[in-house]
């Protein structure tokens, strides 16, 4: 189906072809314990965990 006329001939906002990002599900699937890996990630973004920042 054609795009609405208002979309044709206008300057776009995306700018350049978009590359496919890695699929998140695939990143947490490999390995012996994907559930444990997901829990670790959740812990990493939870407040109160010991600091790991080194600058």
């Amino acid at each position: 189906m054609p795009l609405r006329a208002a979309r044709v001939g206008r300057v776009g906002v995306v700018g350049a072809p978009v590359a496919k990002t890695a699929v998140v599900a695939a990143a947490v699937t490999p390995g012996p314990s994907p559930v444990a890996k997901t829990a670790v990630v959740a812990a990493a973004v939870t407040p109160g965990r010991p600091g790991r920042r080194r600058i």
Partner: protein, 152 residues
Amino acid sequence: MEERSLDELGPVDYLVVEFPAGKSNFTGEMAKELLALVDAGTIRVVDILILTKDQDGTVEAMELSDIEELGELARLESELAELLAADDVIHLAAAMDPGSTAGVIIWENLWAAPFASAARRSGGQLIANGRIPIQAIIASIQADEAAIPVGG
């Protein structure tokens, strides 16, 4: 939609959600969650397109209004700003695999607008922003774990 000044606009993001051939399972759950974000005032949907890419790479774009049985999403249709141009469709579809369908959504982060406006009034200027992929967090944690000495 009420008129708002440029200073009051929140950051605008997009995402492309791909449904590989034969793997879509539309139950209305996505629409429900999207509308919940709109109704909560968290986001404002600026634009939506549905893209299909044939095996030969041909891309077709559908407007929200082209979809039959739009259901509750119909109430978004009149609010869309049609921001995306035809060029954008080609750029966004570059990420799609042949044979897939994708939903493209552009939204304004209404939740961020008051903070961004306050930052500007305070003399601040945005010099960087972005998203941290979950994959990067996993890699960082794994690198940390690998660096810990055995028994340490």
